[in-house]
Symmetry: C2
Subunit: 311 residues, 2 copies
């Protein structure tokens, strides 16, 4: 029994935009890999080094793309902290199952020694809330035609999952898997970017518009999600030696050119991206007997590839 | 800065069923803990030992409740395998980030030594598909009034998240976080329960109605989700020593009474469960400025408690 194939096949997808569910199956059902192999070079973009955070953990390297168009002040502050090596030596302090992995200064924990708090240097310690931004028709937006459970309209802007409410002139980044947000206290002006979290479970969309979202993990999210869960309240690690030390966090722009990560992200306004979404929406192959003909925003993954291995 | 509170407060919820979003905030905003503290004994149920799997991993104990009303033949087969100790010594072979953790016989992998396949004993090696069940108005069903992105109607039956389509006379278990399904090959009759998976990421609802779902992890899902991700294709572990050995899987009914897990699950048709769902739906407190007034099926968690620690 090739049980290895059991779920493998669950991922085989087909391009069936022109094939109704009750028609004959298409002769060829391209996989995401096949669709990506046919992509054109101009469909890929290289993230701006000013927007790319490189976090070194003992488990591996995590790359985070920042979204300055959605949270400009927070992103600027995070750039400053990375530039001044604020995050180096801090730690992952919380892994809350089916919710978030969070990192920051352990001394800021309730039981932490406040006298040991690391200085934020020239970064600001509080910022105005940037939970939504004014709706801007000029911001690129590729709508997801399927709609959304929570927001009037969703889609992708500049590589990020986005919701928008044109009636109320707002748009915002959504809490999908791998999205990165800014921890804060009750006061909306207490977030600075010194404490960040990444979503590692079912999208907690109720957080949307209640907290500043600043970016997305492009690569290495498994080093944040594949960690033992904290056993303290809310998933905080109870013992200091359970925390995972952060080696360093650098802005790619601050690294020598030859040390910058050579990655590319599929443009969310490209034909190949549209084909991938459509394939996921209309799965119809030997494994999928009942394609659902819908796809929700947070189930769409945005491909990233290593530019060095391109042939 | 009490950054420890940043996301802690994200979880503080309020009972605001009677409070409109634009009204004054309620004086008291009970947390899930407070709501549960006021629950009545009869709102909790003890899972039938015939439906409770106890899986011992090096990381800890995982409890899975089986759903015989939705996949009776698969559940019967799994009971047989547990009874005959089939799973003992098998392994977690795959941890696919944001998707599933899967366990079974490593010899069944593509590169496995088929001569070492463990016998299924008196269990069947293939079963008819049980992906949906006929709609039954007599099956308990507590509707989630918010609706669903994928299915005409969703709610909870006997403690499980369920979707149903009355027009087509079908109902089925949904692929929410922690739900357990049966790996199979392309042929729908190749699932047996010898290979199982648990969802550890954004709910892969497109799998609904395409695969047999047999239960839900009640406790210990963090021992399945908090594992290093497999680096092979589809998240399979590439080296045998990366796999996590399963100590044993027992049906609680096969254990001496004093070794059975003493847990209780909140009834999904109870007033306290309804209050928890409503609190999650209408979050309105000092942290949440924009309650979304909706909750999606897979964001609802079903509380489990240790009966031994009750006072």
């Amino acid at each position: 029994m090739l049980l290895r194939h059991c779920l493998a096949l669950a991922l085989a997808v087909s391009l069936s935009a022109t094939v109704a569910a009750d028609e004959a199956k298409p002769a060829h059902t391209p996989s995401p890999k096949e669709l990506l192999a046919k992509s054109q070079p101009q469909e890929w973009r290289t993230p701006d080094p000013q927007n790319l955070l490189v976090m070194q953990l003992p488990q591996g390297r995590v790359l985070i793309e920042l979204a300055p168009d959605f949270a400009p002040l927070h992103v600027a502050n995070i750039r400053t902290m990375a530039h001044e090596h604020y995050y180096d030596g801090l730690a992952i302090v919380r892994v809350h199952d089916n919710f978030v992995t969070q990192w920051g200064d352990p001394a800021s924990d309730d039981n932490g020694d406040k006298s040991k708090l690391k200085s934020l240097g020239s970064a600001k310690d509080k910022l105005p809330p940037e939970y939504t931004r004014p709706y801007d028709a000029k911001l690129p937006f590729t709508a997801l035609k399927d709609g959304d459970f929570y927001a009037p309209e969703v889609g992708f802007s500049e590589g990020f999952p986005v919701a928008r409410d044109q009636a109320n002139h707002q748009e915002w980044l959504t809490h999908c898997y791998g999205m990165v947000g800014v921890g804060r206290d009750i006061d909306p002006e207490t977030g600075s970017g010194s404490e960040l979290y990444a979503v590692i479970g079912q999208a907690p969309r109720a957080l949307d518009r209640n907290i500043a979202v600043v970016g997305r993990v492009l690569q290495g999210v498994e080093y944040l999600s594949g960690l033992p869960r904290g056993t303290g309240p809310l998933g905080f690690y109870e013992q200091p030696d359970q925390r995972i030390a952060i080696g360093s966090v650098r802005l790619a722009a601050d690294l020598p050119a030859d040390q910058r990560p050579a990655i590319q992200v599929l443009r969310t306004d490209s034909a190949t991206f549209a084909a991938l979404v459509d394939a996921k929406r209309n799965r119809l192959d030997d494994f999928y007997r009942f394609p659902v003909h819908k796809v929700d925003l947070c189930s769409v993954s945005i491909p990233v590839r290593d530019a060095k291995t391109l042939h």
